[in-house]
Structure formats: C-alpha cells, structure tokens
C-alpha cells in the first residue's frame, strides 16, 4: 500500500506522473500569485490610504486586474496544458508490453497479453511491470464504470462498459505503488485497492517466464486443501491454472500467495487474514460476491489457507 506522505501526486515515480507533478507545482505557484494580488487589492480597497483607494476605484482596475491579468495567466496555462495533454496522450507504438485490466465490483481482473493480444497470464488486483519502459494498459469494465488510478505512476482513466481506454504508465525505479478505484461504483467502492510492483527488467523477465511456464504445467498435488477447494465450491468461481478449478467469476488464484494484499488491497496477505476472508468475507467487505463459508470448520479453513499459500 502507499502512504499519504509525501502526497503521491507530488511524488511521482515515472515520467507520466512526473510531468503532471511539475504542472501541479506551477499551478500552485500561479494560484498563490493570483491570490496575493486579489487579497492585496482587497486589503487596500478596505483599509488602504485614501489616495490608493481612489486609484483602485475605477474601471481601469477592472480592466487590468479582472481582464488583462487573468487573460495573460490563462493563456499561458492553456498553451502549456494543451501541449502537455498532447504529449501525454500521443499515440502508442504498438510494441509495448500490454496488460488488460478489467474493473469488476469491487476488484480488478488482470491479464498479461502477448504480441498478438492474447491473454497469456491471468492475475488479479496486482500488476507487475518492468522499470524504465512504458506499459500500455487496456482498461475495460465488466459491470459498472470504474476508474483506474495509481497516482505515483499516472493520472486516472475511467473503465467504461462497451469501451476500451488505453493508458500508459511507467516506473523509473523498482518499487511498490498503491492505487484505488476513483469512480463511485456502488457498495464497497471504498474498498477497491490495487497494487503495482515495478521490477528491474531482468527480474521482471524471469517472473514472466516463470509464470508462462506455470500456466502450461499442472502443479504438484495440493492434498486435502486442493480437494476441499473443489468440493466446498471455491472452484466454481476461482481459477487455479492446471487444476480443475476453472471458475471465472472471481479473482484468479493461481498466484494468490505472491500477492501483497487480500480483498483488493484491504488486508495484508497471511494465513490469519486468509482464514478470516474465506470464513466470512462479508464481515470485511460487505456485498462482495463471495458468500460467507461459516459451514467450514476451523481445520478446513486452515487447510484451504495452507493450500492457497502454495499458489505462487
């Protein structure tokens, strides 16, 4: 998760967020200057000497302060803002790494695409990227409108049913960057977090290679936990690559053990929280689609948690 200080908008970790942070500082400076001018004029109008007041009290002041001054400031800002907008949304090359992220109520489906646009690795609520190069995110929605936002990497962009929005992010150095859904999407909108992890390119290549391999081959036998996963109904909604679990309604759990958080960015990922989540996620994140499993015993929950701990 990210922390609030320094404010992530002003603490960019890549070029896309970086140019916006620069813009922000310029805007703050502009606001400060204008505010000083207005407050100064107001102060003189109310408490200034009579001679100054009579100078302030004419149409000329309106033309200078209310028309010319704002017009100059606004024109400069507009030219700068438009150029920056163009720069930030210039067309993509087509050879970047592409990841499709689909907003769902209230989590994120993540699919890494190959050069031909096929989904090759499935994941959820976490995105691994290499440092030093732009990544293109294809943003889509499965239900209502969501908005994808990782402030230290880029501004936000909406995920709209029936449309596909393209967004670019880039991290300059390895790190972990938090984000959260920014468009009100009903019920548990407040609890829809996201994590981006940036790796050195070599490390990222190894990670992807390992995962592509994992997608192709079946895992070792999971024991009673694996059986329970199928019999208790987990497999109806969740997928674990290479096993009988092929459900698509919920987050893919093939790499669940590698995730930093549970419940889309709201709990740390450990055995205790996993047991709590499976037992009664409704008490943690009301209205999420996963039913409470209060019928399972403590032992069964532990077995499931242990099984999931091996999914990486």
């Amino acid at each position: 998760m990210f922390e609030g200080w320094p404010p992530p908008i002003l603490d960019p970790a890549g070029p896309y967020a970086g140019s916006i942070a620069t813009l922000s500082w310029i805007l703050f400076a502009m606001a400060a200057v204008v505010m000083i001018v207005v407050l100064g004029a107001l102060y003189l109008a109310l408490f200034g000497r009579r001679t100054i007041q009579s100078k302030l009290g004419g149409k000329t002041v309106i033309w200078l302060g209310g028309v010319a001054f704002p017009a100059v400031v606004l024109t400069i800002l507009l030219v700068y803002g438009l150029s920056l907008t163009r720069h930030l949304s210039s067309p993509v090359n087509g050879n970047e790494l592409r990841v499709r992220i689909t907003g769902e109520m209230w989590w994120w489906r993540v699919a890494y695409l190959d050069q031909r646009g096929r989904e090759v690795i499935q994941d959820a609520n976490e995105l691994h990227i290499p440092t030093g190069r732009p990544i293109v995110l294809e943003l889509e929605s499965a239900d209502v409108i969501h908005s994808f936002w990782v402030p230290r990497l880029s501004g936000k962009l909406d995920m709209i049913p029936g449309r596909r929005n393209l967004m670019r992010i880039q991290a300059d150095a390895p790190g972990i960057f938090g984000g959260q859904c920014a468009e009100f999407c009903g019920g548990a909108h407040a609890l829809m977090g996201f994590t981006v992890i940036a790796h050195e390119p070599a490390r990222f290549a190894r990670l992807i290679e390992a995962r592509r391999k994992r997608e192709r081959e079946a895992p070792a036998d999971g024991g009673t936990g694996a059986q329970l996963f199928e019999t208790a109904g987990c497999a109806a909604c969740h997928r674990i690559a290479g096993t009988g679990a092929n459900g698509l309604a919920g987050p893919d759990l093939t790499y669940v053990a590698t995730r930093r958080t549970l419940g889309a960015g709201i709990l740390p990922n450990n055995r205790g929280t996993m047991i709590g989540w499976i037992g009664n996620s409704q008490a943690i994140k009301l209205n999420n689609k996963m039913p409470p499993y209060t019928v399972l015993s403590a032992e069964q929950l532990t077995e499931l948690a242990v099984y999931l701990e091996s999914q990486k």
Binding site: E3, L23, S54, V61, G66, L139, I145
Partner: protein, 845 residues
C-alpha cells in the same frame, strides 16, 4: 430619445403629479390585495407570502442536507469508523449532494427572486401568481416526500450524478434510484415553472423607464439564470426520462451490450450539471453586486462590465460540461475545446471580482454582518475559482478528478459563491420582511464561526485529495496519513454548523414576519424594493430615471407613497399590474391578475402524488392522481385570460393603456414561447442522443424499410399547420362565425393526431423491438416524446372548445387561442422532424 413601442417618453414628465390623492384608494388596494386567513392561507398566491414560504422551505432543505453532511464528516473523522454503514453512507452522500443542488441551491435562488423581484421592479406581483404558488407547492410537497425516503432506507444511493449502468436495474434493483429519477425529474418541472415566471416578470413587469441599462443587477442575473434553466434543465429531464424508461421497460439507452452507451448519460447530465453551477452562482453574484454598492454607499463600478460578465457566463458555461469527463478517455482535440472554454469562463468571474473590489475601494464600507459575508464570500470564491482553473488543466485533472481535492474545490466555489452571499442577503434584506432587525452582534459571530469552520473543513481537504483519497468512499484504511486532515475537516464542519445554529437562534429571537410594519432599509439601499410597501407592493409605480432611484431622488419614496406616480389606485377594481416593454420598459398595457385560488395548491399536490406514488409502485393511485392534477390545473387556468369591461383605462396623469393585448406584446405569449423553448430543447437533446449513440455503435443499427411513410406523415402535419394558420386568419376576420376559428384549430389537431397515429403504427410495423436494440428504444422514445405533445394537444383542443362554447374566446384576438395555435404549430414541426429522423437516419448501413 427613441422609443421601442411608440410610447412618448415625454409623458414621464407628468410625474410626480401635483394633486393630492384620496386615502380611499389605498383602502381599496388593501381590500383587493388582502391575503386570505386561516386554512384559506393555502390559497394565497401573492409573492410576499409565497416568496417567504419558498425561502423558508429552501433553507429547511439546506439545514437537512447540512445535517447529513455532519454525519458524513463524523464517519470520515477517523479510519474504519462505524457511524454510517456502507449502504447508509452511500445514501447519505447521494442525498447530501442531491438535496443541496436540487432542493436548496436552485430553489433558494428562485425563492429570493420571487420574494424580491416584484418589489425591485416595482411590480404589484409576478405576472403569473398562481404559477408561483403551483411551483412552490409542488416543490414543498415533492421535496419533503423525496427527503423522507432516507428515513426508510430507500433514498437513492448512486451519487447525485446517477451514472448508469450503476443506476440501471441490474446494479440498482431497488426503488432507490426511481426516487431520484421521478422525484428530481418532477422538481425540475417546478424549477422550470419558476424560471418562466421570473423571466417574464423581469422582461415585462419593470417600472416604466427602467431600461435594461438601469435594471438592478439582481434582475439581470435572474434573467440570465432563468434563460439558462430553460436551456439546461431539458437535458437532465430527458436523461431522467430515458433512464427511467430503461429501468421500467428494459429499453437499452445506456446499455452497451445492446447498442446503448453509458457515456450518453454523462453528456446529458453534465450539459445540465455544469451550467447548473453557474445557475446557482449568478443570482448570488447579482445579490453581491447590489449589496456591495449599498454597503459601500456608492454606485457600482463597472455596471456594464458586470452585465457582460453575467451574459458571457450564461453562454460560455454551456461549453464546459465535458470537463467533468476529462478522465473518460475522450479524444484529445475535443478535450482541448472543453479545457479552453473552461479557461474563458473564468474571465467573467474575474471581471465581477475586481468590480466588487473597485466598488469597495471607492466607497466607505462599514464593518457589519452583510459586509463581512460579502467580503468573506469573495475571498472564498476566488480560492475556489483558482482550484477551478487548476482542474481545467486536463493533465492535473487526471490526478485530481474524483478525489477530495474536487470536494474541497466545489465547496469553496459554492459556499463562497452562493452560501455566503445568501447569508449576506438574509441580513441585508431581512428588514423587508421582519418587524425586528437581526442581531448585529450575533451576526458577526455567525459569520466568523461559519467562515472559520468553512476554511478549517475544506482547506485541509485539498491536501487529503493530493494525498490520494478518492471521493465517495464510506471509509478508509489506516496507515495512509489521511487521519489528520480528515479529523481537522470534521472539526471544521462542526464549527461551521455552530455558526448556522447561532443564526437559527438569532432568527428565532428576532425574525418576526410582517408585510407592512417592517424595519425597512437598514443598510441604505438605493433600489426600488426599499420604497414603502404593502401587500399590493408600492402605492404607485414610480418612473425610473437612474440605477439607484432612491439615492438620486430623495423625495421619491414620499411621492410614491402619496400616489403621485402611475397606478395609484386600482383602475379596474381587481388585482392588476403594469406591463412594460422588455427593452426600454415603456408602458404597454394593464395586466388584470387572478387572485387567490386553491387550484394551484391542489394541482401541485396531485402532480406530486402522481410522481411519488409512481415511485413506490402504487400504480392505481398514481394513475388516479393524473386526471385530478390535470383538472385542477385546467380549473385554475379557466379563471385566467378574461377581459374586463374597461377596454382602456387611465393609469395616472391621463395616460391611457389597454387592458387586453395579444401576440408578442402579451405576457402570456412570452410564457408560451418559454414553454416551447423547453419542449424544443428536450427534443433537440433527444435528437442529439439518437445521433450520438448511432455514432458510437453503428453496428447495432439497421436501415428502416418503407421509408416513404415519412412523406404522408409530414404532409399530414403540414396540413395541420396550415389549418392552424388559417384559423388564426379567421380569428381576425369580421365575418367569420363564433366557432369557425376554433373549428379550424380542432380540424388542425385532428390532422396532427392522425399524422402521429400514422407515424406510430407504420413504425411499429417495421418491427424494431425497443427492448432489443438502442435503435428501437430511441425510436420509440422519440415517438413517445411526440406522443406527449399530442396528449397536450388533445387537452388543449378540448379546453379551447369549452371556452369557445362559454363565449370566452374573444374576437378579434384571444390569448388562449394564440397559445393553442402556437402549440399546434410546434407539435406539427416536431412530429415532422421525428418522422424524417427515424426513417432517414441511419441513411446507409
């Protein structure tokens, strides 16, 4: 001097008249304008009462929505608090926004308009007093019932912006969303009624000589306000209509899987939603412009520039709606246009701010409560404006959008730009309606508590947003450093609330409503509302020669009270007011007004009943309300448009004016045009929606067969229109019989209805199922819109026939006849456009 109407301005020199007038004239005015008492108060239509009720109700909603805000702030004070559970929180923040915007801000401005405008313009009342009463009661009943939904957990929970698909049946199956769609849709109708009243009132009932260049700036602001409502509100009315149809009948306007588009809602909603912000700000700015001049005891510097600013904002604010949608992935070129317009709309705001500062510099403002609120509002508004410029910068908005930074920004703009000015206005104008003045000492406390509370709440909130906290979240996790700013904001909210509580105590102790013995002009204002008044407004209607007549002519008040100006009596023995020309305010005729009636009240109750019962799915009762509402409204209208025996009357000093006119000179004609503008805008928005969705998902659309049906349909409508024109021609002809013009209009209606029926049935034969594709749904909706007009035509035709039978359709001209023929012509035009649109777009696959 040039004249607008042929009226000779030299006649003004006859005033003030020399001879003394009798006291019996005042007694007659008092008798005619006396307000009913007891239970019959419900029949009151006079603006002094209706205006105050209206202001009080709007203020009640301000308090209610404010309480919601306090609970919201309590919940957010610390991470993971359980004051408001998730679902309740979502209802609370939706209601806070909805109530503040729709039930407080816009109605409050209309309410102040209804209360102040007649006095400011020296009219005896607004031109359609029963319409004001209807608008008020509809708002009162509808608003309170709507608010009560929160007590039973059925309040809307999709945000005040109600974005589909979250608000579609799939994701919002309960009736919560219907409460919003039907409740707010209905309150918008009330707002439009009020806007028409205000627009016509400003253009047609000003005191003689009050040219547009001498009009009080509040009147200018309200003129632009009313015009903007007529253009902006139809968009949201259409949007709510479409979404309600989608929910009730499964027509996929916004459903991307069947060719609809959720972005359509956003365009329609913000086409209304952003002008809405200026609709709230402009009247408040008008109030400030007037107060600044009085408080500084000097003429406002830059009157003309402020009029430019008001008009400019009125236009430019229609080019900024998509800056709420910068993060939706629109093409950069279009985004650039909206960013540019958002920049240019700041220019008028700058003009107003510096004009106020210049006026304060020229004059000698004293340290009192209204001055404090005006200056405090100015500072706050400028800060909000600056963050507004920031978020108009597209890349910055990509970060700030939908975070608490925006929450802070909008509260700075709205509290600084509207709430503080309204409080200043409460203090400044309370002398008009109260026997005792509000406490100055407490007032200063009220200001400083509210000002401090406001900034403690919202200044840190900018930082909360920059630290990454999104809006509309019912809680947040610990460990993000969001606790401190949030806690501070919560403390500030309670300080703000303490200020408002103190204001309530002051009101309870000192505000005593009166229409006669008010404390009067506490701050030395120079405009006409400070003339001595009774329920009939001023004794006589002055001739206006400057912008601050009371300052420029110290004897004016005495002369007006002595009846030395126009209309010092009732010329016809009924309620009446002077109608003047829209530009130069030259006397045109004497309007005879209708008095108290229970029908506007009943009409409003039944209209509210229809919408609210529909929401709670009590269909039988709801349908039963519809004819009752219609009958009540027709019954109220039945009393209107009557001629008095005196064809011409002396309005003072021998100036003779007619008592009945029609056509563009008549106030009724202007109101009809306003209604048709609203209808036309709804239709235009529907056409836009149709083409927009076709442009987004053309693959879902097919070309209709049998396209030639458009021609017979259009020909039928054209025949109806021609017959209407022929009827108008017959109206003016001496030889035509009593029934022949009406008969022409009835035949015209028959042609129009038959054309619609042809259009409808031939379209149904095409087999476009409205549940299957957006094309079918939109076609059906366009036909339904025309069907609505047809229903109105049927009612009007019956009404006109009834009036003809009762001998009320006077020759050679008659307002009712005019109104019906204008509606017929409009309906024929809209019908023709519908038939052609459906069959020829899409033109090719």
């Amino acid at each position: 001097m040039t004249s607008e109407t042929g009226f000779d301005p030299k006649l003004y020199d006859r005033f003030p008249t020399a001879e003394a007038r009798s006291q019996s004239e005042v007694e007659e005015l008092e008798r005619i304008w006396a307000a009913p008492r007891g239970w019959r108060r419900l029949t009151i239509v006079n603006n002094n009462y209706v205006g105050l009720w209206y202001v009080a109700t709007a203020f009640l909603f301000f308090l209610l929505a404010g309480v919601l805000a306090l609970v919201i702030r309590t919940q957010l004070a610390l991470p993971l608090l359980g004051v408001l559970p998730q679902e309740t929180y979502n209802q609370f923040f939706t209601m806070h926004g909805t109530v503040m915007m729709f039930l407080f801000a816009v109605p409050m401005m209309e309410a102040i308009g209804v209360m102040l405008l007649p006095q400011m313009l020296a009219a005896r009342d607004l031109p359609f007093p029963r319409l004001s009463a209807y608008a008020f009661w509809a708002y009162f009943v509808g608003g309170l019932c709507f608010f009560c939904s929160i007590f039973v957990g059925l309040a809307p929970n999709g945000g005040w912006f109600m974005y589909p698909p979250l608000t579609s049946t799939t994701y919002s199956p309960g009736i919560n969303a219907d409460f919003w769609l039907l409740g707010i849709g209905f309150i918008e109708i009330s707002a439009i009624a009020g806007a028409i009243e205000i627009l016509v009132g400003i253009l047609k009932t000003r005191a003689p000589g009050m040219t547009l260049a001498r009009m009080p700036l509040f009147a200018w602001a309200m003129l632009v306000f009313a015009g903007m409502i007529l253009i902006a509100f139809p968009a949201v009315i259409l949007a709510t209509l479409l979404l309600e149809l989608e929910r009730a009948l499964n027509w996929p306007f916004f459903d991307a899987t069947r060719g609809g588009d959720p972005m359509l809602w956003q365009h329609l909603f913000w086409f209304f939603g952003h002008p809405e912000v200026y609709i709230i700000f402009l009247p408040a700015a008008g109030l400030v412009s007037m107060m600044v001049a009085s408080l500084a005891k000097t003429e406002l510097v830059g009157y003309q520039l402020i009029v430019l600013a008001l008009l400019g904002t009125g236009f430019l604010s229609f080019g900024v709606w998509a800056h709420h949608m910068f993060a939706t992935g629109m093409p950069t070129l279009s985004v650039g246009f909206f960013a540019a317009a958002s920049m240019s709309v700041s220019l008028p705001a700058g003009i107003q701010v510096f004009s106020w500062i210049a006026t304060l510099a020229v004059g000698k403002p004293s340290y009192n409560t209204p001055t404090l609120f005006v200056v405090g509002g100015l500072v706050t508004f400028v800060m909000g404006g600056l963050t507004g410029v920031m978020v108009a910068m597209v890349p910055f908005d990509w970060q700030a959008h939908d975070t608490h930074f925006i929450v802070a920004h909008l509260h700075y703009v709205l509290i600084g730009g509207a709430v503080f000015p309204v409080f200043a206005a409460f203090y400044y104008w309370s002398g008009m309606a109260s026997r005792r003045r509000l406490s100055e000492r407490m007032g200063r406390w009220v200001f400083w508590l509210m000002f401090a509370g406001m900034h403690i709440t919202f200044l840190p909130m900018h930082l909360t947003g920059l630290m990454g906290m999104p809006r509309r979240v019912y809680t947040y996790l610990p460990g993000k450093d969001w606790e401190w700013t949030n806690l501070l904001s919560t403390v500030g909210a309670f300080i703000l609330a303490a200020g408002i509580l103190l204001f309530l105590i002051d009101l309870a102790r000192n505000f005593r409503f009166t229409t006669e013995n008010d404390v009067g002009n506490l701050y030395g204002g120079g405009t006409l509302e400070w003339l001595p008044t009774g329920l009939y407004s001023t004794r006589s209607i002055p001739v206006v020669k400057s912008r601050q007549p009371l300052w420029d002519d110290p004897k004016l008040a005495r002369h007006v009270a002595e009846g030395r100006y126009l209309l010092p009596y009732s010329a016809t023995g009924r309620r009446e007011t002077l109608i003047t020309s829209p530009v130069r305010a030259e006397p045109q005729y004497l309007q005879v007004m209708v008095g108290p009636s229970v029908w506007p009240f009943l009409g409003a109750v039944f209209t509210a009943g229809f919408f609210l019962l529909l929401t709670v799915q009590a269909y039988a009762l709801s349908i039963a309300c519809l004819p009752l509402a219609t009958l009540s409204i027709l019954r109220w209208l039945w009393d209107t448009d009557r001629q008095v025996p005196q064809k011409e009357v002396d309005v003072g000093a021998g100036i003779m004016l007619p008592t009945y006119v029609t056509g563009p000179r008549a106030h009724g004609w202007w109101a009809t045009i306003c209604v048709l503008v609203v209808a036309g805008m709804i239709f235009l928005m529907a056409v836009f929606s149709y083409l927009f969705v076709y442009g987004i998902h053309p693959s879902f659309w097919t070309i209709p067969t049998d396209r030639w049906w458009a021609f017979p349909v259009a020909a039928g409508y054209a025949a109806g229109a021609s017959l209407t024109l022929y009827g108008r021609h017959l109206m003016g002809r001496e030889g035509a019989s009593k029934w022949s013009p009406t008969a022409a209009l009835l035949f015209a209606s028959a042609f129009i209805i038959a054309s619609f029926a042809t259009d409808w049935f031939t379209w149904q034969a095409q087999g476009f199922d409205p549940e299957v594709s957006a094309q079918g749904a939109f076609a059906q909706a366009m036909l339904a819109l025309e069907g609505q007009m047809i229903a109105v035509i049927v009612l009007m035709a019956g009404y006109l026939a009834a009036r003809t039978a009762s001998g009320l359709v006077t020759r050679p001209r008659n307002t009712t006849f005019d109104v019906v023929s204008l509606f017929l012509l409009y309906t024929a035009a809209q019908g023709t456009a519908t038939a052609i649109l459906l069959r020829f777009f899409p033109a090719s696959g």
